[in-house]
């Protein structure tokens, strides 16, 4: 069984951090683990910064609000500045370096910076930087089995957007290899 994941995903509203969190939460659901997904809601959803907390655990989850993450996915500078010190020692930071210029050095935290937005544009996957980062997070933490991650992605793409499934899968794999 994978270790507990206490994750914050953060970025601007519209970048898809809530969707990225939902893929990971769904992976936990498929593996029958304890799962919680908590979005920020309110004014920050309407154009400002958005974030969500995702926990995967083998024990009942207390607060679904993650305050000491062991993983952080960051898609903009304000979120980087807000959350970088919250990550616990031994944790992982996955950063979109196209959009985050100032990435702090840390001895205790593994910082994985990939230009996800640039990669998405170069590979005709505009808007899928979020999914590329989920792929990268998976490669670094193995929060679930690989086939679970693909099954989760299938579950998360609604029927009316079925035509986007291939692109999402490709983005996931691109991130896993980055």
């Amino acid at each position: 069984m994978a270790r507990d994941l206490s994750l914050i995903l953060a970025g601007f509203g519209g970048q898809g951090v809530l969707f990225a969190g939902k893929i990971i939460a769904t992976a936990g659901l498929i593996e029958d683990r304890e799962v919680s997904w908590l979005p920020s809601y309110g004014p920050e959803m309407r154009g400002g910064t958005a974030n969500c907390s995702v926990t995967l655990s083998d024990d009942p989850i207390g607060s679904p609000l993650v305050t000491a993450p062991n993983a952080l996915v960051v898609m903009n500078q304000p979120s980087m500045d807000k959350f970088d010190t919250a990550v616990v020692p031994g944790g992982v930071m996955v950063v979109d370096s196209t959009l985050v210029q100032r990435i702090p050095d840390s001895e205790d935290v593994c910082v994985c910076a990939i230009p996800a937005t640039e990669m998405a544009e170069e590979n005709n996957m505009k808007g899928l930087a979020n999914v590329i980062l989920v792929g990268k997070l998976f490669a670094e933490t193995h929060f679930c089995e690989e086939e679970t991650l693909f099954a989760a992605m299938e579950k998360c793409v609604p029927a009316r957007k079925r035509h986007l499934l291939d692109a999402n899968m490709a983005a996931l794999k691109l991130g896993m290899q980055a």
Partner: protein
């Protein structure tokens, strides 16, 4: 075979209500409750039900009154300021002995307050939802699964006792997703011989009314209703006891704050502190029996709420001075952290000594 799905608390309550036989929903949008109404607007037409966005919360609760009088299973939902507006209608329903389910996904107050989670409507739910001598039953779920389970049960209890039932949730529980196993759809609902469904010249008129101008008649009805409340108090208390068997520092928390308190209890146990948690699931009736079961070992009650201290008064009433009662709360939409609750447990532990 039913399987677990990932759902928001707000959506889980809506789906579960439909499965409990609710076919009428009247509401008005307000954050952080809106997903419930949105879900109903999509699903009600598919199951032959009625979804109606009223012109105001006051209109919505009075539509609930009407549908309930006609025998339907009916729900409305709102968040704190909207529930205040519904107070008058809820009082009328109580005065008419009408069942109905009211969901409050609480946000910070008073006034318009904020839109982040809060538990500051405890008093409103358990003491004075509206004017007059009455109670409503109040369930306080703590997980998305419980939101589904108690929304489902609420309809049965409302019909059984002919009483309005409230689900008291908050913005955190409403917005979060967790895996949930939905209850089976009900195909049989209880008979309601009192409902105003048309007498067809076969029986006397049924009248649903809360106006009694003869003091004797009104007093008699109030007394009868309170006898029913005593039955509810005797039969319907619910609470979860967590690590309470030998607990000296007993936390008391409901809903969202109970999740945080539970984490703090686990952390305290890891330090060798005998901590436990009483989690009231029914806020009215207050689960007094659960408290009696810990009185022998408890040396301190620590009540944790997302308000300035409301349920703490009920704990003091139960304790009757036998065990000291302390309070820790955050307000304004701030969710307390397990670490700050743990600090309070440590302080209490030091005070009561080894």
């Amino acid at each position: 075979m039913a399987e677990k799905v990932l759902m928001k608390g707000n959506e889980a309550m809506a789906e579960s209500a439909i499965r409990a036989g609710c076919r009428f929903f009247f509401g008005y949008p307000i954050t952080p409750q809106t997903e419930l109404a949105a879900y109903m607007s999509k699903q009600m037409p598919k199951c032959g039900g009625t979804y109606l966005q009223a012109e105001s919360e006051i209109a919505a609760i009075n539509m609930v009154y009407g549908a309930s009088a006609a025998g339907a299973r009916v729900m409305t939902s709102s968040s704190s300021p909207g529930i205040s507006l519904k107070g008058e209608g809820i009082s009328y329903m109580a005065g008419c002995d009408l069942p109905g389910v009211i969901v409050n996904v609480q946000r910070g107050g008073p006034g318009l307050g904020g839109i982040q989670p809060s538990q500051s409507d405890y008093w409103q739910a358990t003491r004075a939802t509206g004017h007059g001598d009455f109670q409503i039953m109040v369930y306080a779920p703590s997980t998305v699964q419980e939101m589904a389970d108690y929304a489902y049960l609420a309809f049965d209890k409302a019909d059984e006792y002919r009483i309005p039932v409230m689900i008291l949730a908050d913005g955190m529980l409403g917005q979060m997703m967790e895996p949930v196993l939905m209850p089976e759809p009900k195909d049989e609902l209880p008979e309601k011989p009192w409902a105003t469904t048309g007498h067809k010249n076969e029986r006397k008129h049924n009248i649903v009314d809360s106006l009694y101008l003869t003091p004797d008649a009104l007093e008699r009805l109030n007394r009868e209703r309170f006898e029913r409340y005593e039955v509810i108090k005797a039969n319907e208390q619910r609470a979860e006891l967590f690590m309470c068997d030998d607990a000296e520092i007993v936390l008391v928390a409901f809903g969202a704050s109970a999740r945080i308190a539970r984490s703090a209890v686990v952390a305290a146990r890891e330090q060798g502190i005998k901590a436990g948690l009483i989690r009231p699931i029914t806020l009215w009736p207050f689960p007094t029996d659960a408290f009696e079961s810990v009185m022998d070992t408890a040396r301190d009650f620590l009540v944790v709420e997302m308000n300035m201290g409301q349920m703490v008064e009920d704990v003091r009433l139960v304790s009757e001075g036998r065990v000291p009662v302390e309070f820790f709360g955050r307000t304004g939409g701030i969710i307390p952290t397990p670490a700050e609750v743990l600090k309070r447990i440590e302080a209490a532990h030091e005070r009561v000594g080894e």
